[in-house]
């Protein structure tokens, strides 16, 4: 019992309680399903706050570890090992935070098979939290792959017209990457004799040439998930077709699993390869930043625009991580959170208008500010956060990333400040497409008569957005607590790199 009540066990598996209760509901009990999911996810969030309270920010090591031998195979011990440190705690909090918000957003949007929806959603939460907490590669892989399944259904059942195509593409794409990672994991287990990540990191000693192979095998999985250019082709499909809550989680958390993977595994496990190939990663990241921004600009569908903007934003994160210095990595981590909040909020916002108008084409909108001022203002704030306006969260992340990348550009890691330079140009392009989006939707005259009777946001919708806005301002104005949480762990990581 003590084992089960470990904080990390609880935070990971508490949603299972909800799943079990939901199993016993009837199909017709829609509201009950909603409330159960809501309460359970809120409780999970509460538990994650409890974890935060127990977390010692000054300690760079794993904390609150839960460790047990799961099973042995040959000479391996495969561990059930969960642990949390500065690199993962924010992402765990982000996950538990976004889940109830997403659930709230589905209150009226999802009417079909509500129970199943909530069931998949809670399962997804388990998988996501598990990914961020798992400290054993095997366990990590289990959670990693497991997240595919509920998401597949969220897209496939409750998605748009092309949902089947999108769902299967999502599944196969991500799986394609992760199986290569599986091989690399096995290789590591074979040569190093353990899957326990801290041990693997401590051992080191993988020959450089092999590090490169392993690095790219892991990178294949993560880069597809992120998605890094040019592996992003699944993203617009998945995002556009997913239901709102699915998009929120997809953008908010699932993509972070990729960047987190780079951070947690690629960099510390293969430091040599990371240093050697940082330029390539940074290059792809920068291309992603510019490409995503340019492509976003030409979209006719709001959701697609935001989807492509994720390519751009995640490019920033990757650039920060592969600056391989404390500044860049911390910026990268924070930007993961920022992107989760901002893009999550954007998807919520798109969902709100979609629920009203059942379209997302720009041409259908225009001048919405007039009829939906509250909605417009909230959108504006989120959009500005997304384009990195100082004082809002996006800026803090992007600035520290660019600063870190610039610094890395002066060292052999990247070798050129042009990475940071071009990435910074992405800031301009971000303004272009964000303002394009905002302008198309809210500014100009209200020409479409269908929009004239639109209702402004109701209280539930505002409540859905407000927590995100609070964070947008909080991180933008006073990010210190966030940086403080991750700083020791990141310093530790940078020390491993030995730069």
């Amino acid at each position: 019992m003590d084992f089960i009540l470990q904080p990390l066990n609880l935070v990971t598996f508490f949603p299972l309680v909800g799943v079990l209760i939901l199993l016993f509901l009837k199909k017709e009990q829609k509201n009950a399903a909603r409330w159960i999911a809501m309460v359970v996810s809120l409780a999970t969030f509460g538990i994650s706050l409890w974890v935060l309270a127990q977390f010692n920010a000054a300690d760079p090591n794993l904390q609150m570890e839960v460790k047990a031998i799961w099973f042995s195979f040959g000479e391996w011990d495969i561990m059930y090992a969960l642990g949390i440190d500065g690199m993962s705690i924010l992402l765990v909090l982000l996950t538990t935070f976004l889940t109830p918000i997403s659930i709230l957003s589905t209150w009226t949007a999802v009417e079909d098979r509500v129970r199943d929806f909530m069931l998949f959603f809670l399962l997804l939460e388990i998988g996501m939290v598990g990914v961020f907490l798992a400290q054993d590669l095997f366990l990590f892989y289990v959670f990693w792959e497991f997240t595919l399944v509920p998401m597949y259904f969220l897209i496939g059942i409750w998605g748009g017209d092309q949902r089947m195509y999108a769902a299967i593409k999502f599944f196969l794409y991500t799986m394609a990457g992760s199986i290569l990672m599986l091989l690399a994991i096995l290789w590591l287990g074979n040569t190093q004799g353990t899957f326990y990540v801290p041990d693997l990191v401590a051992m080191g000693g993988i020959p450089d040439s092999i590090q490169t192979w392993l690095f790219f095998a892991f990178a294949a999985a993560f880069a597809i998930k992120v998605p890094m250019w040019p592996l992003h082709s699944w993203l617009p499909d998945a995002h556009v077709q997913a239901p709102t809550a699915g998009s929120v989680i997809l953008a908010g958390v699932l993509l972070k699993m990729g960047t987190y993977g780079f951070l947690r595994f690629n960099i510390p496990l293969f430091p040599q390869a990371a240093k050697e190939w940082a330029w390539l990663m940074a290059l792809l990241a920068v291309i992603g930043i510019l490409y995503g921004a340019l492509v976003s600009y030409w979209q006719k569908d709001v959701k697609k625009l935001v989807a492509y903007s994720s390519v751009s934003h995640l490019g920033f994160v990757m650039l920060g991580l592969f600056a391989l210095n404390s500044t860049g990595i911390q910026g990268g981590i924070l930007q993961m959170v920022n992107h989760g909040i901002s893009t999550g909020a954007l998807f919520l916002i798109i969902g709100m208008i979609y629920e009203r108008r059942h379209t997302r084409e720009f041409d259908e909108f225009g001048g919405l500010w007039k009829v939906m001022p509250v909605y417009a203002v909230l959108t504006l704030i989120v959009a500005l956060s997304s384009m990195g306006l100082p004082g809002l969260n996006g800026f803090v992340g992007e600035f520290t990333i660019l600063l870190g990348a610039w610094g890395a550009g002066q060292t052999p890691v990247l070798g050129s400040v042009l990475y940071a330079g071009f990435a910074a140009a992405g800031v301009i392009l971000a303004a272009v497409y964000i303002l394009y989006m905002f302008g198309k939707m809210f500014l100009g005259p209200l020409t479409n008569p269908k929009n004239e009777t639109l209702k402004d946001l109701n209280l539930r919708e505002i409540v859905t957005l407000v927590p995100l806005l609070v964070l947008i301002f909080w991180i933008g104005l006073y990010p210190k607590p966030f940086f403080d949480l991750m700083a020791p762990a990141v310093e530790n990581l940078v020390a491993i790199l030995g730069l």
Binding site: V396, A431, L443, P445, Y478
Partner: protein, 727 residues
């Protein structure tokens, strides 16, 4: 001094309130309408106005207190920390306010002019929201204005480049919001005056500048390890790093300056920005925000001083802009466009000044320009308001009726004659109908034209004086002098066209003077425009000499490491420029004053200059050029990438056709080779070769068991063959 030293130094701790007061104001005006609505009451215009003006006014009070304290502290700078902000490893930027003479000067300008414009807006916007048919926007306007004050205060008072950048982008945002304030207007305009388009344009052009700023910050940080002014400036003087590094910093900053202060090549957004309500044009796009670039250069004086060559570059950019914009201003008909290009031109003066290292002159012109250009814009707003009220008189009393009026107004815009209350060709003879406005406008005009003893004369003269001494290049002086001539000319042209002659439109005929809230700020600013020049009295006799210069020198001397020298007044330069200005005004009288324009008459200058005037009127086709060189290619590229590369090629062709379809084809083949006719063809060929006759081929039968057995057998032969023969 009324206050003791200890109390006055205590005022420094109040400095964050220059941001907090406006912030509180904007929060109140944002949320109170919602709260009151919930309470079934109304948060009316008076409440909004009082809140907004008070917020700004309190900021002014705090600024004044800072001034007092700083005087008491003999100009010693103070740094007031509020909280940690970014704290990453060695990178540590707190929220810190810097109180020194430079920042306090800016604070006073911003909050002073800002408060006046708030006051002005109380009356102006009352009418404007009704003419635009959206009375609910009144509160929104004050929210934006307060936000702007807060952001501008952060900009001028931050103790680090990063904090400056927060304000820098923040005011950019406010600019965006306020330009797009009437976001539904002019949807069909193609010349960039489409309001939402103008707003975007402003933001994006600014972002390009911001990009430069960011770059400058990155270089700075990685070579000085900090972004804090107090730590960088002492280092810069004896910097011994890679060559050209500081040059890059300064160069990138210049890019930022060209964005924010509307210099070549990024000035294009500012004229379009006049789509915003007039108080906005006055406050943001004339008096304060656009001078942020000038402030940045002045603030970074040590950086600019530390490297050769940058001075020339900055000064040339400024001077060229001054001249270029002045020529365009000559060809405009829109009253605010003229002032807009005038602003660009005057900003060019300032940038040229600070570029030359004449920081005091630049700042001096910044201050006086803030007075008289704000005045001009506000007065022009008053003119516009007057014309608009003449065009369709409003019932002053019943707000309730305005909703009914809204639709009428919209219809009017859409279907009837397009009346532009800002077009000078629709004015004329307004002198008698709106005398207060006229006289204050005159004060502003003379100040801008640089006529003794108006404020503009002193500050512009100081710039010209410095330019005449400038060792970098003589072009700066020449450009500036010509620009000054143009300035006088287009202002003369404007005054003749607007106030003299006969009304050319019934609206001008029935124009009404504006209410007192509009006029009071005009008068105050007019007084400042007249007297403002005396604060930097250039003679040893009379007033305190170079008071403004010495005041600022507390800052510049500390930061640049050497005392400023203040050039003696040069009568040669002064008289020369005055004569030229007067001559230009006379020239404008000859063209526009002597024979006032009639309705529908073409501009006499157009006849005289022909294509040149056309160029001036068309802003030298720079917008078109940018459209062709940057925007269209950008859109083409975006379209190409997104449709052709990303979707058609990468998504559809590569993934769908290339991978998926071929994959399925292969799968089908493996599962059912016979159906695809592949094996049929081989069999056909075999049959032809072996039998020579295909008569019996028609009897189609398939024998799969034998096929299967053959497969097994093939496997056997192959495996045995490999093991026995090949191995």
């Amino acid at each position: 001094m009324l206050l003791s030293e200890t109390t006055t130094t205590g005022f420094f701790q109040l400095v964050p309130w220059i941001v907090f007061f406006p912030a509180i104001g904007l929060l109140i005006n944002t949320f109170m309408p919602l709260v009151m609505k919930a309470l079934k009451r109304e948060w009316g215009e008076p409440a909004v106005a009082i809140t907004g003006v008070t917020a700004s006014g309190l900021a002014l009070v705090v600024s004044v207190l800072q001034f007092i304290s700083l005087r008491a502290a003999h100009g010693h700078e103070q740094v007031v920390g509020v909280a940690d902000w970014l704290n990453i490893g060695s990178f540590n930027i707190p929220w810190e306010f810097r109180v020194d003479t430079l920042s306090v000067t800016m604070m006073l300008v911003v909050s002073g002019v800002g408060t006046l414009i708030h006051l002005y807006s109380v009356g102006y916007m009352h009418y404007d929201v009704r003419y635009k048919g959206d009375p609910k926007s009144y509160a929104r306007f004050f929210v934006y204005l307060n936000l702007f004050i807060a952001m501008m205060m952060i900009l001028v008072s931050g103790n680090s480049y990063l904090m400056l950048f927060v304000g820098w982008e923040g005011v950019g945002l406010c600019s965006f919001l306020l330009i797009g304030f009437w976001y539904t207007k002019n949807p069909d305009a193609t010349d960039g005056t489409k309001n939402s388009y103008a707003a975007k344009k402003a933001f994006i052009a600014n972002r390009v500048g911001d990009f430069g700023f960011l770059m400058a910050m990155f270089i700075t940080f990685w070579h000085f390890g900090t972004l804090s002014f107090s730590e960088i400036f002492p280092e810069v003087a004896h910097y011994s790093g890679p060559d050209g590094l500081i040059w890059w910093i300064a160069g990138f900053m210049l890019l930022g300056v060209t964005g924010k202060s509307a210099q070549i090549p990024l000035y294009v957004w500012l004229p379009d920005a006049m789509a915003g309500p007039t108080p906005v044009s006055a406050l943001i796009h004339a008096a304060t925000m656009v001078t942020a670039g000038v402030y940045l250069v002045a603030r970074s004086a040590p950086v600019f001083n530390a490297v050769e060559g940058v001075h020339v570059l900055v000064a040339l950019v400024g001077a060229a802009t001054a001249l270029f914009a002045a020529t365009i201003a000559v060809g405009q008909y829109d009253i605010k466009k003229v002032l807009a290009y005038s602003t660009v031109s005057q900003l060019g003066f300032m940038v040229a000044a600070v570029g030359m290292g004449a920081y005091v002159a630049g700042m001096f012109h910044l201050v006086t320009h803030a007075f008289f250009k704000a005045l001009l814009f506000l007065a022009s707003g008053s003119v516009i308001l007057a014309v608009e009220r003449g065009h369709h008189p409003l019932e002053e009393t019943g707000d309730a009726k305005h909703t009914g009026h809204d639709s009428h107004h919209d219809d009017h815009d859409a279907h009837h004659e397009v009346f532009d209350p800002q077009d000078m060709r629709n004015m004329g003879g307004l002198r008698k109908r709106i005398p207060w406005t006229f006289w204050t406008y005159m004060a502003g005009t003379l100040a801008l034209a640089g006529i003794f003893p108006f404020a503009g004369f002193w500050s512009k003269d100081e710039i010209l004086l410095d330019a005449s001494h400038f060792e970098g290049t003589a072009l700066v002086y020449i450009f500036l002098v010509i620009a000054a001539i143009f300035t006088a000319f287009y202002m003369g042209r404007q005054v003749w066209m607007v106030f003299f002659g006969e009304p050319r439109h019934h609206a001008a005929e029935e124009a009404k003077e504006s209410p007192w809230t509009v006029l009071v700020p005009l008068v105050v600013l007019a007084v400042l425009s007249v007297l403002g020049g005396f604060m930097n009295w250039p003679f040893k006799e009379g007033l305190e000499p170079h008071a403004f210069g010495h005041w600022l020198d507390y800052t510049f001397a500390v930061s640049t490491g050497h005392e400023g020298h203040f050039p003696e007044f040069d009568f040669g330069v002064a008289i020369q420029s005055t004569i030229l200005a007067v001559a230009a005004i006379i020239g404008s009288w000859l063209l526009y004053g002597r024979k006032p324009l009639k309705a529908g008459q073409t501009d006499p200058l157009a006849k005289a200059l022909g294509p040149i005037f056309k160029g001036m009127n068309a802003k030298w086709w720079v917008d078109e050029l940018y459209q062709a060189v940057i925007l269209t290619p950008y859109e083409k590229l975006a379209k190409f990438l997104s449709q052709t590369i990303d979707w058609n090629f990468w998504h559809d062709w590569f993934h769908e056709k290339g991978i998926r379809d071929n994959f399925q084809r292969l799968a089908r083949f493996l599962a059912d080779p016979v159906d695809l006719g592949f094996i049929d063809r081989i069999s056909h060929w075999l049959a032809q070769g072996a039998q020579g006759s295909g008569g019996w081929l028609s009897k189609l039968q398939t024998g799969y068991v034998r096929n299967y057995a053959l497969a097994v057998f093939t496997g056997v032969v192959a495996i045995l063959g490999y093991l026995i023969l090949l191995r």
